[in-house]
């Protein structure tokens, strides 16, 4: 719920695999296609049974029917036709990754994730891959190999081999798997990965390793140094509602909720606390909207417009604790948006800080109630909503 880290930049599988390929991690032979005809040609160039994988960002695409197999060029064509343009958990399939079907001996898991507690990367590896790794960790923690990487030293080659050894491998396999794990780490560092994982990382029947799936999530705050993804990060993902998408484009932290009290606050903690109070008094928040601790007038106007255009909003509750924000500017922004949008429902404004008196006077003239205490304001907003 925090601006800048609220929505991380997740890459499509084919993008993550392209990166993996560049770093020397073995991947299945494959082609990205956008039409059934291309899928047919992909089958012919691969020359054997293939898997067609929907390129979507939502989790659980396999269970939702987004991954299917084909044993002939015609079948590849018809499967592609069925998948392309369909929706998986609300996300439209625009591309497929057509890959050779691999002969699986065993499915592994290997990944790195930022660990808040150790303030470093942690590695996770398991011989129980191909399933939800959280479940494995809960059901049989002894099957998970984990540890932290020293941020100043980075992951050493030998540390990567320790991990492979702990997973039970020896000889050539130990060396190969160790190299793959080291390269996963190298990608994480090079791409500011919040999370990188191969699940499953497949041990094939001939004993080699292939990254059958790849996931890479890039830290939003680092996108200025990953220009190739920067523009796309601004395009709202399919998981966002229209209002969330609009807020994201405006640089606001906004989450749609099911209730009816529209909420705008300055600062994530204060805004969350405002939602909590509404609940505490028996109301239901319609949204979370944080303008930021030091919002400008433009941001304020944008935030108000978004919250007020939510049809569920029966009452507006705005909570501004001004340090640097000037209350008269806040008040003028509120009045301006109210008039512009013709918002006739009740507004409750909590306003404290610089030029407070002037701000309250402006609000009073426009017939808007203002409060010193956020608790009183939240209680009043819930009462209004009940009466409305």
């Amino acid at each position: 719920m925090r601006r800048g880290s609220g929505t991380a930049m997740k890459l499509f599988e084919y993008e993550a695999k392209d990166i993996a390929g560049k770093f020397g991690i073995p991947r299945p032979r494959g082609v990205v296609v956008e039409t059934p005809e291309e899928a047919r040609r992909a089958f012919e160039s691969i020359g054997g049974p293939v898997v067609l994988k929907s390129q979507v960002l939502v989790a659980g695409r396999g269970k939702a029917g987004g991954i299917r197999f084909a044993n002939s060029a015609d079948e590849a064509y018809s499967v592609a036709k069925a998948l392309l343009g369909s929706e998986i958990k609300g996300e439209k399939v625009l591309k497929l990754l057509v890959e050779e079907k691999i002969k699986v001996k065993r499915e592994l898991y290997a990944g790195f994730v930022i660990n808040r507690a150790s303030k470093s990367y942690s590695y996770l590896a398991s011989t129980e891959g191909g399933v939800d790794i959280e479940e494995v960790a809960e059901r049989s923690p002894e099957k998970i190999v984990r540890g932290d990487v020293d941020p100043l030293e980075g992951l050493k080659e030998y540390e990567a081999r320790y991990i492979a050894r702990k997973m039970g491998y020896r000889g050539k396999q130990l060396v190969e798997l160790g190299a793959i794990i080291k390269r996963l780490y190298d990608i994480a560092i090079s791409y500011d990965g919040e999370l990188i994982e191969s699940n499953p990382l497949v041990e094939t029947e001939d004993g080699s390793f292939v990254a059958a799936d790849m996931k890479l999530i890039i830290d939003d705050n680092s996108l200025y140094r990953h220009k190739e993804y920067e523009a796309r990060a601004k395009v709202p993902g399919p998981e966002l509602t229209p209002l969330e998408a609009r807020a994201k484009a405006a640089g606001l932290a906004y989450v749609d909720l099911d209730g009816y009290v529209g909420i705008v606050g300055n600062g994530a903690g204060l805004t969350m606390a405002t939602l909590d109070l509404v609940k505490e008094f028996g109301g239901e928040p319609a949204n979370f909207c944080d303008m930021g601790g030091t919002a400008t007038v433009e941001r304020m106007v944008e935030a108000l417009e978004i919250v007020l255009s939510n049809p569920r909003t029966k009452v507006l509750l705005m909570n501004v604790l001004g340090g640097i924000i000037r209350c008269d500017e806040v008040a003028r922004a509120v009045v301006k948006v109210k008039e512009k949008m013709g918002f006739a429902k009740p507004m409750v404004i909590r306003l404290v800080g610089t030029n407070e008196e002037e701000g309250k006077r402006i609000l009073a003239e426009a017939g808007i109630s203002s409060f010193d205490s956020m608790e009183e304001a939240a209680m009043r907003a819930v009462e209004f909503a009940r009466g409305a």
């Binding site: 989790a59 808040r116 999370l195 989450v255 903690g269 969350m272």
Partner: protein, 293 residues
């Protein structure tokens, strides 16, 4: 006494010639903070608000004897600035910027640990020991000198709760904004440890929020060390929808303990006074302090 910053803190402002840097330098000086030097590469030799500007941190240390820093440079340059301050041994170093890449923070924090230097932030309003030293961007008038230590993961919510304490006649020894980023320099445990050893601090307020498990580990610490001072806590985000920001593998490592309810339960088990509203922090601490008298 207070923790981390007091009347002996000699402050360097990094990025002093920027809009934010110069604005807050004025406010810091107004508050009485000893701002002795600023840095801004290429602008050495000039002055901002009567404070001499240097090109490098090293010069500022040699010429003005600064021992702590507040960094106002933009997120993209925070790593460089922080490393320069760490190398010079300044402590604490307050990193104001929001949006610092998490890998940069990881490196900064590891370097600071190696050097034995305290980092506050990133994405923090800073630290204030009311009446002695303000090293941050918080509105000073809501704070008052006293005996409650405050540690918070939030900005404006801290001002809200501090204002409530002040209204109730409970001043503060030191208020620390830990920072809103996933990786920050100080944890609740670090701060509880500092307050434990500070004679002036008679009670502690912790202001947490959803995500991570800093509150749960703090609760364990309170139990394990039989924490000797009353503690009250508020956790923001009870109404937040579950799962919005829980990473995949991250949730394993933090042991599925990111929700507000989990944090509140942990605090209750540790005997911490749990506030359901921000204003209850002051009420609960007042009761605890009067009861212990």
């Amino acid at each position: 006494m207070a923790v981390l910053v007091d009347e002996n803190t000699r402050v360097l402002v990094q990025g002093i010639t920027g809009r934010q840097g110069s604005f807050h330098t004025r406010l810091l000086k107004q508050y009485g903070t000893k701002v002795l030097a600023g840095t801004s590469p290429g602008k050495g030799g000039s002055e901002v608000e009567g404070v001499p500007v240097y090109d490098t941190v090293r010069e500022a240390v040699e010429e003005r004897g600064v021992n702590a820093s507040i960094v106002f440079v933009p997120a993209q340059f925070t790593k460089e600035a922080a490393l320069e301050a760490i190398e010079a041994g300044l402590s604490p170093i307050v990193l104001i910027a929001e949006g610092v890449p998490v890998l940069d923070s990881m490196y900064i924090l590891a370097k600071a640990r190696e050097k034995g230097v305290t980092i506050i932030g990133p994405n923090t309003p800073g630290i204030i020991s009311p009446g002695l030293c303000k090293l941050g961007i918080m509105p000073a008038h809501v704070f008052k000198k006293g005996s409650v230590g405050v540690a918070s993961r939030s900005g404006t919510l801290t001002y809200e709760i501090a204002a409530g304490l002040t209204r109730a006649g409970l001043g503060q020894s030191t208020c620390i904004g830990l920072g809103g980023d996933p990786l920050v320099g100080l944890s609740f445990i670090d701060v509880l440890e500092l307050f434990r050893n500070d004679e002036e601090t008679k009670a502690v307020a912790l202001i947490g929020e959803i995500g991570g498990n800093a509150e749960e580990t703090a609760a364990e610490y309170i139990i394990k060390t039989k924490y000797p001072k009353p503690v009250a806590a508020y956790v923001a985000g009870r109404a937040a929808p579950p799962g919005k920001r829980m990473g995949h593998a991250g949730a394993i490592i933090s042991g599925r303990t990111g929700t507000a309810e989990s944090k509140l339960e942990a605090f209750k088990r540790a005997g911490v006074e749990v506030a359901r509203k921000p204003s209850e922090i002051a009420i609960k601490l007042k009761e605890a302090l009067e009861g212990s008298r």
